[in-house]
């Protein structure tokens, strides 16, 4: 039986799924209902938590963490000193793009895991050639 190709998940995909006001909410609601194996960065989890903390409150931020905990198809890649060194290079390489460390770690993970599909509404994640799920050819 064929298995689904794994995809990288960015903070924007998580927020689009969780925020029903977002214009991409229907797309990500459909994608998350039957997802392939998913990978993300520990920094994405931190960003998502920070978004709920800043935009809402501690309770919503905890609900976000509960969601991540329940999302059993998701593997979270750690971010340590080795990743910092590597992402530092990417941030410099794309110095004109205002890449966050979370974005850079995402690009690194996709490169190291040979992941070509990215769930994101952030065009930065397509900088190294990954196909964004919001691109017309992928919808």
């Amino acid at each position: 039986m064929a298995t689904k190709t794994e995809a990288y998940v960015d903070t924007s995909a998580l927020i689009a799924f969780l925020d029903r006001s977002d214009s991409y909410h229907p797309l990500f609601r459909r994608l998350f209902s039957s997802p392939p194996p998913l990978l993300t960065s520990a920094l994405v989890v931190a960003e998502g938590h920070g978004w709920f903390l800043r935009r809402y409150d501690q309770n919503r931020a905890i609900q976000f963490l509960n969601f991540i905990n329940d999302l059993s198809v998701l593997t979270i890649q750690p971010f340590g000193s080795e990743e910092l060194t590597k992402t530092n290079g990417l941030v410099k390489k794309f110095g004109d793009q205002s890449l966050t460390l979370a974005d850079a770690h995402g690009l690194l993970i996709m490169n190291e895991h040979r992941i070509s599909f990215c769930w994101s509404t952030d065009r930065h994640l397509g900088l190294t050639g990954a196909k964004l799920v919001i691109s017309p050819s992928r919808r």
Partner: protein, 132 residues
Amino acid sequence: MIDIPRSTAPNIPHREIENAAAGEIAFQPNPTPSDDDCEYNNLPLASGRVIIPSGSDNMLRTQISLDEQDYKLVKKEAAALGVSVAEYVRRALQSTLPPSGRPRWMRYAGLVESGNPQSSQSIDEIVYGNKD
């Protein structure tokens, strides 16, 4: 084909048969309409457990095992609520199962309504702040 001995499907009304020593609750089927009824001739077997369909109330009969302490607690709570042990277990299951068999995380879909259709594209402004 799974052959169920007739002794496991006696002609008794549906009821719980509780074996306190074993800590088991067996849900016996309703009586079969006739000996020729094929209801028990093609029964599904899940993890070594026979699941017995019932023709009268759209229920499947199965069997669970509880340790003695849990069994006593379940029986006590069910009695306090005035329901059968089976009904108590059904209610407990319904409170924990995800709706319609959906993945657990789908309960969070549309958790918030920010009012911003560009919400997912303006995360950096919220998390890191606007550039001046």
